[in-house]
Symmetry: C2
Subunit: 696 residues, 2 copies
């Protein structure tokens, strides 16, 4: 059965339901004038951020668009690729924009909801997150459906490039459009990550330490930049990141279907499984509610949503596989299930290592008793060890999905299975991203309630929502990193198949010296990339510190609260610095595969990608989990353990938290995108590399 | 020409010259009674360490010997292997013992020499280091010569195992004897590393902080453990480490010669190049002297020794290649030169990133102004970035040595070239290890001068020697890590050839899912290993803290200096704890390749090794260089910069230094051995794995 029509339908369900939720949210009481004013500041800051971000990224996209256009003109690429590249970037940016827009508009409404009950607050915040989640999957599916439709129509009337059949011509073009999504996502994640942490440090150092203002004080010119940063990093960055993961996993698997000889049916299956995910996420949404006002009940409520959605996807995807590929390909359904299982346990593992409900983070809190050095060593050690479970999970996922899809009999079918595992893992995105994006909303709601002087039980409720948000943010990162590793793997395989379609058989013998060199350089790449991001955070922070000092110096009535601070200038300066810092890492991702390919041959690019994947995956896990654990170890002490707030142990734990911030919010999550973008660049430039490489 | 007779001659030159130096050192004035007493304490402690270390390691070796014997009985191994394993461990241990013995006996003589002039002190300390360096290469060559002689004789009269010819039977047996060296080295490095850092922390926390004793006070029961630790970690650990690197690189290359079809001549070349290195190191020794008493002159003097030795090796090895393989194989000489060049520049790069004469470490000092968190972020960022040059160097080394040896025409000859690059790099070991092992001697001489109350100009001179020792220790680590990566590469290739000799052709396609899983697990392995070592240092430190507290509590006259502290109990307890902590990491190294091989097939073992090599190499570089830079950033502040001693910046830099200690002295350098030992285990157990693996 050709069920392709379900793809636009699925997209419409996702978009329709998010429009419904947007209207529902906007009908909620936005709270008092004071509350509106505060959320307005954040909203204005967010707009200032967007304006500047789009300017910088546009230039970058324009240059790359022209390069791609020239390459298409020279015959290295199909003419659609440059345009696909642009649309990929556009939709990715749109996802970030919508997410940020709804998040900034929901914070005061969440605070207001918490005046009524915890459940009301949760409903608003979670609805806001769900808008983001469903927009990402809805727009992703829409974009895929449109491109598939256009290409299918075009190649029905026009001849395909030499060496391709119609199907592979379609899928390999669609693959290229993921590059736009990845490129924008890198900017959003890296820029957002540098931005949010630099603003955080700047607001704290000048506002709190030098001027003695309380936390979240509106007189601090950087305080809005700080709050904008939360949205920029955790909402927009995460949204663009997962949009590209989502789209990349689907297009990569579509390309693998063509290679596995499954024809048009195999190509539509990844999209259809994504549709299953959309429907399941919408249904799962209704399982998220809480009656009792406890932390445990909140967690259970979110979990109920994710787990029930996973179960529904398992059932729906069975129907999809049976009705498209037929019963002979039931093994492929097993691959989807493997991905789903890996996704669920990735969350469990991250929670175990980063939540203070479990012993690793509690033990880390204890190391604070002997000072900052032991906290740092302990946190790094914890982060390193925490890579064990996710790596083993992903390994099991690869093996299970490959062998269940009968990879032993049909190698290419097995690889298709690996791709489907990535799609399966990411199919729950609508709801997992919802529980993740809900965090910053709850966080800002807390700030809003505090600044507007709402009653203490409101603040207590927003705190409960916020604490949960910290956990979901950590598990969200684990999910993003784990899914990225499977997606990157699918992309690397797709790269191999694309190169072979271009008429160049790939000999990927592990011990070929050029491949070994590729592995070494690839393995080093995430370290250099992370180093550069860590340095950037420091440099950007120093710029915002200067600006805040300048405002306090030049606007004398500011400190008395009689003239308002220039939030936008802070936002703009931080952003400008962050965007500048971002260029070098982005160039690394784009130029390195091309340079390695030209110098060492097209095979070395494959090993470069594998090397970057292996070390980037482990390093990203370590950084994200160390950072999460340091954060929560500090929170555990702040709750009165090991001396509580203000004790020496607390001070030591603050050092850990500060080190962890750029780990978990800047470097760690950016590594995912780095690896996928490098893979994408390799795919797009493969024809060019084959032609001009020194090694043929 | 068969020049094999040069190997025992070279060995005798090395050993003979070291005996000459030992006698020369012992004829030097050992200083006053007080000085002798102090060095006696360290010597006693060192003996206590050795006694306990041998006990634990013996049990481990006995078990493994019996397993190997059983495997030999079952036909998986040649009967010589279990015995080769034992001798490898024995010689490795002997190297550590001699190095430590001469180092502990030289400290008071170096202090006494410094009373006369800086040059006198340098001569003694450097001679002590040279004894260590030449013992390592001399014993290494002797062991190789004996085994080669025995096996050559045996197989002239007895039949070789099925599938082997005489030459490959010899070389693949000799390869296995490296496993003993590696296993002992892991114990020495890991145990020593945990020991020295735990003792350091223990001595500081109780002695200095709780009891208020000055640094290096003889009443502190842990102070000797601390000084012993320097010898244990930096002398014995480094010696065993480099003994195994040295031997492993030679036997691996010998095995590759058999594969490249170069016959007996190709097999002797690696040993002969090592002989060139011995002669060049002895000659280079005479270039190390200083007239002017400046730091710069000291560095130049040591560099003069290493550079002139490298130059001599380049010339000698030309003669070796021409006179054995003939002019047609001159490309192979190019491989040796490639290795030499990589070795020289590895040192330069490490110095640039870790010495405060250069901007990276100076900038790191500056980050201390804003507190410990920025120091930590800065140091990690520096360490990550510092991996760039060594990785690129090693990559260039691999490519140059492979292609110069005509690897494009004859693939196996190219791989032999890569092996020769490792041998070339390590051929300067006699003198590079000398400048490295000299550091702890100078360090202890300083402590000796301080405690014995020698005039201040003596202390000033030992400080100059010691400061230089810090730099050479860092460059020594860079050299060890870089050489390990090339050696490990040669071992992995040797593994492949051995498996193929066993009748199992290896398909190492990078994108085979089982190989990918191997890469992932391998890439994760160094992180888990490091995590475990970092934790061990913490746990062991807490044990020595208890023991020191106990002694102060139960020996009431101790603090008045009227009864002497029980140094040996401290040494024993630390050692016992360290040895216990060491078992798990050692088991990981030994069991993991076997388990992966049994579950995922013999090919997955190769990718496991490559994955561990890639991520371990980068992680080790990062840890060693971060640690070195933190150490020197602190020293730079102590010299009066950014506020000097006692300032907040100084306190922040101490946090960095404390984090860096287990980085650079425990985890970082142990990773080298981990990778090599895993490769060795894979080689030795390959027959067993082929037979019983689930994947055939």
């Amino acid at each position: 059965m050709n069920l392709f029509w379900l793809v636009p339908v699925g997209s419409m369900i996702a978009l329709g339901f998010s429009f419904y939720l947007i209207i529902w949210i906007f009908r909620k009481d936005p709270g008092s004038e004071e509350m509106l004013k505060i959320s307005g500041f954040v909203s204005t800051g967010a707009k200032a951020y967007l304006k500047q971000q789009y300017k910088v990224v546009s230039i970058f996209f324009l240059i790359l668009f022209l390069i791609l256009l020239f390459m298409a003109y020279k015959g290295f690429l199909v003419i659609f690729v440059p345009f696909a590249f642009l649309t990929g970037g556009f939709w990715s940016a749109l996802c970030g924009w919508i997410g940020m827009w709804i998040a900034t508009n929901s914070s005061s409404r969440t605070a207001q909801g918490c005046r009524e009950s915890l459940n009301q607050g949760l409903r608003v915040a979670f609805s806001s997150g769900t808008v983001m989640g469903l927009m990402v999957v809805g727009l992703g599916l829409l974009d895929l459906a449109i491109w598939y439709f256009i290409l299918n129509w075009w190649y029905s009337f026009h001849s395909v490039p030499a060496g391709f059949d119609k199907l592979s011509a379609i899928t390999s073009t669609m693959l290229c459009f993921g590059m736009g999504a990845s490129a924008y996502a890198l900017f959003a994640r890296v820029g957002g990550g540098i931005y949010t942490k630099a603003a955080d440090v700047g607001a704290d150092l000048v506002g709190k330490v030098e001027e003695g203002l309380p936390e979240d004080d509106p007189r601090n010119p950087a305080v809005i930049a700080d709050q904008v940063g939360d949205n920029v990093g955790d909402v927009a960055g995460m949204g663009a990141d997962l949009y590209e993961s989502y789209v990349d996993s689907i297009v990569a698997t579509m390309a693998l279907a063509a290679g596995a000889g499954l024809g048009i049916k195999g190509v539509t299956v990844p999209m259809l499984i994504a549709v299953c995910g959309v429907i399941a996420s919408v249904l799962g949404f209704f399982f998220v509610k809480t009656r009792r006002e406890t932390q445990k009940d909140l967690i259970l409520s979110l979990r109920r949503g994710v787990y029930s959605a996973s179960l529904l996807i398992a059932i729906f995807s069975y129907l999809v596989v049976v009705n498209t590929l037929g019963r002979n390909y039931l093994g492929v359904w097993g691959s989807v299930i493997a991905g789903l299982i890996v996704g669920v346990f990735l969350g469990v593992s991250t929670e175990y290592f980063t939540s203070y409900s479990f012993s690793p983070t509690r033990q880390l809190s204890q190391t604070a008793l002997t000072g900052p050095a032991t906290v740092i060593i302990g946190g790094l050690s914890l982060g390193m060890f925490s890579t064990l479970v996710p790596v083993v999970l992903v390994c099991l996922g690869v093996l299970m999905s490959f062998y269940l899809a009968e990879g032993r009999v049909n190698y290419n079918l097995g690889l298709y299975g690996v791709g489907l595992a990535a799609v399966g893992l990411l199919s729950t995105l609508g709801i997992t991203l919802a529980s993740d994006a809900y965090g910053p909303v709850a966080d800002n709601a807390g700030g809003n309630a505090q600044m507007a002087g709402l009653p203490s039980e409101v603040r207590k409720r927003t705190d409960q929502l916020d604490a949960l948000g910290n956990t979901t943010a950590a598990t969200g990162k684990g999910f993003a990193i784990g899914s990225a590793s499977l997606t990157a793997l699918a992309l690397i395989v797709a790269y191999k198949e694309r190169v072979e379609l271009l008429g160049k058989p790939l000999e990927l013998s592990l011990l070929n010296p050029r491949l070994l060199v590729g592995l070494f350089i690839g393995g080093m790449c995430p370290f250099i990339f992370s180093s550069s991001l860590l340095k950037s955070v420091g440099r950007t922070a120093s710029k915002i510190i200067e600006e805040v000092r300048r405002q306090f110096r030049e606007v004398p009535l500011l400190k008395e609260g009689k003239s308002s601070a220039d939030y936008e200038s802070c936002v703009r300066i931080t952003l400008k610095a962050a965007q500048k810092e971002m260029v070098l890492p982005a160039l690394l991702a784009i130029l390195l595969p091309v340079i390695v390919g030209l110098l060492l041959g097209i095979e070395a690019v494959a090993s470069l990608l594998v090397g970057a994947l292996v070390s980037g995956f482990v390093l990203a896990l370590m950084m994200a989990n160390s950072g999460g654990a340091w954060d929560n170890a500090k929170k555990f002490i702040e709750e009165g353990n090991f001396g509580g707030k203000g004790s020496l142990a607390h001070k030591a734990s603050v050092v850990g938290d500060t080190v962890g911030d750029p780990f978990k919010d800047t470097a760690g999550p950016s590594l995912n995108i780095l690896i996928k973008l490098m893979s994408m660049v390799s795919i797009v430039f493969s024809g060019f590399i084959i032609k001009f490489s020194l090694f043929k």
